[in-house]
Symmetry: none
Subunit: 355 residues, 2 copies
């Protein structure tokens, strides 16, 4: 096996072995990332640039909106390195960027950047001020007009502080989320995160409908992707959600919407793929989140770590820093089920890091 | 990077990463190749067979119209080996041959050989006797009816003595071409080449229009490809010109035609890809040719050499022999942006050479 099964069986993933995938990177900014010490997904004071830089790096291997590739204060490099490494060794058929509210547009040519007239959402402790129904509908519409470039699609995300908005989202919708959400930190700032989520939840009351709650404390990526998933159900196209607990939160939103609006999810068309740093994380619990879904879902974790690397900063991943993001887990699995050796991915990441 | 940027940015090429290409090989004979010692692209006295043999070798890995694969008197093997090696490791979606005036038709089945009722053009020192406007129109028409088999197309060439006709073409059109054109020889026979071009230029006067000049001293490949490029502009299909200074000359013809006929080239649909033997060649200057274009063009050189090879004849490439042809540079880049390691291409070329 080149992956671990978190939920379901291997059949879904095995049916994709040898097929080509397109990568969609859903990027957005929530001003929640401006809360000090909440996220280490990028450079402090410049976290809002992280999704822009990630988009630039995976497409053209350059960060053009800042001098250096996003790395954390402790020097942990972005998981975009992993996604780019796989793309160089076993390329995606295409990479397209979804601008779901960026501060700065990626400076790239010849790549589709889909714009949806969305602006960064506000700090959820103050109310996010999202028009959730509108964002959701844009996701549905995008799916309905989506013309696949490849056999299946891998949907990734880059949203700094996104695990906090994901946790607030899950809790507002009534799911058990305590100690379930991961963090870009090894030692997750759980008390800070908890406090932010508690402050955010004050803007919701249980009588609100799903969209009202999402408007207050979610983020554009989660809401849009829930719409995209449901919009894509009308087709036979297969989708991999490449991400950890944030993508689990997207599925929880889908679950709540189905409960409210009726309908079922044909979950044989969709799976979640993440890293084993998420799957084995002792400070979060993606399985517990997925277990709360009313539908069956296949979920997998890439069998990949940096134990064979000589790079000390990459080994920080194995100690629990960074963990996931920019589609790293999905990209790894895509590479591994298409014949790449983990060892060659490690080497390519090292090359990119020390180029 | 798996390539160097000669002009423009990496974005065009990065957007093709992971996509499949069809290869079109434009083949033609100019009797200019019968001038002794002007070209080493093949066997002396049999240079007119080289495009035929190249077409046979890249498609079916056999030279059927002669016993041995085209190699030079000093034993330098054809760059078709490189193109074939990439095709075996990361195949083109299709290979089609454009017969733009061959002496002998390739003996291959199941591959499309497009015929255009063209005969070899004459020695340019005597006047090439080409109906340039007709050849150009055939290129335009072919583009208009072109049904892409893949995501993009790589257009390659095999024309012995083609750098001489390319140089004559550029000079007749008024471009600065001194020391700009490469040669299949390491020590380019510049004085002979210069003399041939000077003799050819005697058949033109400045009052002639572009087509009259091309009729006198160009070759069918250059003229047809200029038409193909312009005809393809009506579509969104992306094209890579796989070649060195000959393909630069094609672009100069396009440039002159646009100056005369009006119109603009949407150069975001087109790029030139060559070898680094051309890009780094001290006896020619492809950059200086491209700089004379009125439009922006992306141009790249494959990061590939034979330094890791144990073959002495292959290492002659690194010393400046052969350099390019039969789409070698474009093929290398196609392989490298689809995950091939340079090392594996070297090994495959060695296998083909010593098979």
């Amino acid at each position: 096996m080149s992956y671990h099964i978190i939920a379901g069986t291997q059949d879904f993933l095995e049916s994709l072995r040898g097929k080509k995938a397109s990568l969609l990177l859903a990027t957005s900014v929530t001003r929640t990332c401006e809360i000090p010490n909440l996220s280490q997904a990028g450079i402090p004071e410049h976290l809002h640039l992280t999704p822009t830089l990630d988009a630039e790096f995976i497409t053209v291997k350059q960060v053009r909106s800042l001098q250096h590739i996003a790395s954390t204060p402790s020097g942990i490099p972005t998981p975009a390195l992993i996604t780019r490494a796989v793309h160089e060794l076993n390329p995606f058929k295409s990479i397209e960027i979804l601008d779901l509210g960026l501060e700065v547009k990626p400076k790239i040519e010849h790549f589709k950047i889909h714009s949806f007239d969305l602006t960064p959402s506000e700090n959820i402790t103050q109310h996010a001020h999202i028009d959730a129904f509108e964002v959701f509908q844009k996701g549905v519409a995008f799916a309905q007009n989506y013309e696949p470039q490849a056999d299946y699609t891998i949907l990734a995300e880059s949203v700094p502080a996104g695990t906090t908005t994901a946790m607030a989202t899950a809790m507002a919708l009534g799911y058990e989320a305590t100690n379930c959400f991961s963090s870009s930190f090894k030692n997750a700032p759980q008390s800070l995160k908890q406090q932010v989520v508690e402050d955010a939840l004050k803007h919701t009351v249980s009588s609100m409908d799903v969209f009202e709650k999402l408007s207050a404390l979610s983020d554009n990526m989660i809401i849009f992707n829930a719409g995209f998933i449901l919009g894509l159900q009308a087709t036979s196209h297969k989708l991999i959600l490449a991400g950890g607990t944030q993508m689990a939160s997207v599925l929880l939103v889908v679950n709540s919407l189905l409960q409210t609006m009726g309908g079922e999810l044909e979950s044989s068309k969709i799976a979640l793929c993440t890293t084993q740093w998420i799957a084995k994380d002792e400070t979060s619990n993606i399985k517990a989140l997925l277990d709360q879904l009313d539908f069956q879902i296949n979920a997998y974790a890439a069998q990949f770590d940096f134990s064979s690397s000589t790079s000390e900063v990459l080994k920080l991943y194995d100690q629990g820093e960074a963990k996931e993001g920019v589609g790293a887990g999905g990209a790894l699995i895509y590479g591994l089920i298409n014949g790449l050796e983990a060892q060659s991915i490690v080497k390519k990441v090292e090359q990119l890091l020390y180029a």
